[in-house]
């Protein structure tokens, strides 16, 4: 193998390039990214950057010297526009065509827009550094911020905006925020935390239209007739995988790039990070997770599989994510979706702690927590990784951490 192209130059793409070099690959290594900046990290965008605690230069995933040491054919500020998979040629937006022997797709996702709100001043989405800086300028003391979508991203921004003194309204289309992702009872606990911090949370709030005057947003009108005045609107209603450039490639596209248990989409074509929907054998299900940690872990796995075609390993991680809200950290291990039961084992909001375990069939499939020790969480993770049954897990944890069960 002497020509590997990685498309998407953020967490997943850069980690893949690093892992390939670490594992001894010495051939040509092209890294293509449509953003102009050196690869940077996204989680701080809705946290330290929005809060004004960090300058943007702290986001860099690696310093210039570390990137130079990778000896990359680095092409930033130019997107991939197409792929001729049969000829193994990558097409770039500037007209270049690049032959490759192996390809890694790490193009991530972009924010979903609210139809009709594009181009209205004061309406934001949050995915890039530019987005974060634009939103930050709009968030001042006393400004009225309406956030459409009460998922983790909307929740984090609500928390930071309250701290900055903004007047915050959070809109959730369903009866309980995050119910699908984490279960109803957990969603209600998280909703309670927002209310305690002075956020107005409206549930069953379906947006009809964004109101504007002279091209600037003035409010959000709901389907039931309510009107919520706004100076700034954040649309946080999920994301869309960046796979349009692969439309004519013949690769299978569904909810992202469809990959097998090795993270392969085709021979010598692999997916990494938010864009990849792969079969996770640990849970025997296809999943696409938008978690920062997964981008790194999948990059390591893909680098191994690419360089060791005769000794490939299935990518079977226990997914992990965290979210920072109101000074507390929410952490989750496992696969929380599609659960049959979400059991709240601990809930003490004044102490800022809770712990929820997830069951699918007779297995423990996930845990979500706030304010638990790293040791306790690692024990839960171990049980999920080993495929422990629900009963065994609860019994085990009663021994390790009696307060938890």
């Amino acid at each position: 193998m002497n020509r590997i192209a990685v498309v998407g130059a953020a967490a997943g793409g850069l980690a893949t390039a690093e892992a390939l070099r670490r594992r001894g690959y010495q051939g040509v290594l092209t890294l293509v990214g449509d953003e102009a900046e050196l690869p940077y990290d996204r989680p701080p965008l809705s946290k330290q950057i929005l809060a004004g605690e960090w300058e943007p230069d702290r986001l860099a995933l690696r310093g210039r010297a570390d990137i130079d040491a990778l000896d990359l054919d680095l092409r930033l500020g130019v997107g991939a526009s197409g792929l001729d998979a049969a000829a193994r040629t990558l097409l770039l937006a500037d007209g270049t065509s690049l032959p490759y022997e192996a390809l890694v797709v790490a193009t991530g996702v972009r924010a979903r827009c609210l139809p009709g709100a594009e181009g209205v001043g004061g309406v934001h989405t949050l995915r890039t550094l530019t987005d974060a800086l634009a939103l930050k300028t709009g968030l001042r003391m006393g400004q009225r911020l309406v956030i459409v979508g009460a998922g983790f991203l909307g929740a984090e921004v609500a928390a930071v905006a309250r701290r900055l003194g903004a007047d915050v309204t959070l809109l959730e289309a369903g009866p309980v925020p995050l119910a699908q992702a984490v279960g109803e009872e957990t969603g209600r606990i998280l909703a309670q935390v927002h209310r305690e911090h002075g956020v107005r949370l409206h549930t069953d709030a379906k947006v009809a239209t964004v109101l504007s005057a002279d091209g600037e947003v003035t409010g959000v009108a709901l389907a039931d007739g309510r009107v919520l005045p706004a100076d700034v609107v954040l649309v946080a209603i999920g994301s869309l995988p960046n796979t349009e450039w692969l439309a004519d490639s013949g690769l299978a596209l569904g909810d992202g790039l469809v990959c097998d248990q090795y993270s392969a989409a085709a021979p010598e074509v692999y997916g990494v990070g938010d864009v990849a929907c792969w079969h996770n054998p640990l849970f025997d299900t296809a999943m696409r997770v938008e978690h920062r940690t997964n981008a790194g872990e999948q990059a390591l796995a893909v680098a191994h599989n690419l360089l060791n075609p005769d000794a490939r390993r299935p990518f079977a991680p226990v997914p992990y994510f965290w979210s920072d809200q109101y000074g507390a950290k929410i952490q989750a291990y496992g696969y929380l979706r599609d659960h049959d039961e979400a059991r709240v084992l601990r809930s003490d909001l004044t102490e800022r702690q809770f712990l929820v375990a997830y069951r699918r069939g007779d297995r423990l499939t996930g845990v979500l927590a706030m304010g638990q020790t790293p040791r306790a969480l690692r024990a839960w993770r171990g049980l999920i990784a080993s495929g422990a049954t629900w009963d065994t897990a609860l019994t085990d944890m009663a021994v390790t951490d009696p307060a938890a069960v």
């Binding site: 670490r22 990290d41 989680p43 981008a295 790194g296 390591l300 790293p374 969480l377 690692r378």
Partner: protein, 65 residues
Amino acid sequence: MKITVDEPKCVAAGQCVLIAPEVFDQRDEDGMVVLLTEAPDADQHEAVREAALACPAAAIHVADS
């Protein structure tokens, strides 16, 4: 090998502890990374480099010495 961690960047993910438990630990109160040794033995170098790659906050820096 000399390891440095940028503590304010750490997000308490614990990847480093899973990969190199002899070199990294986490504080009980908030999960922040604790470096057990700045200059680990040679048999730990491989694991430390993997941890630096896997850390989701790019908070671990490894310099050769």
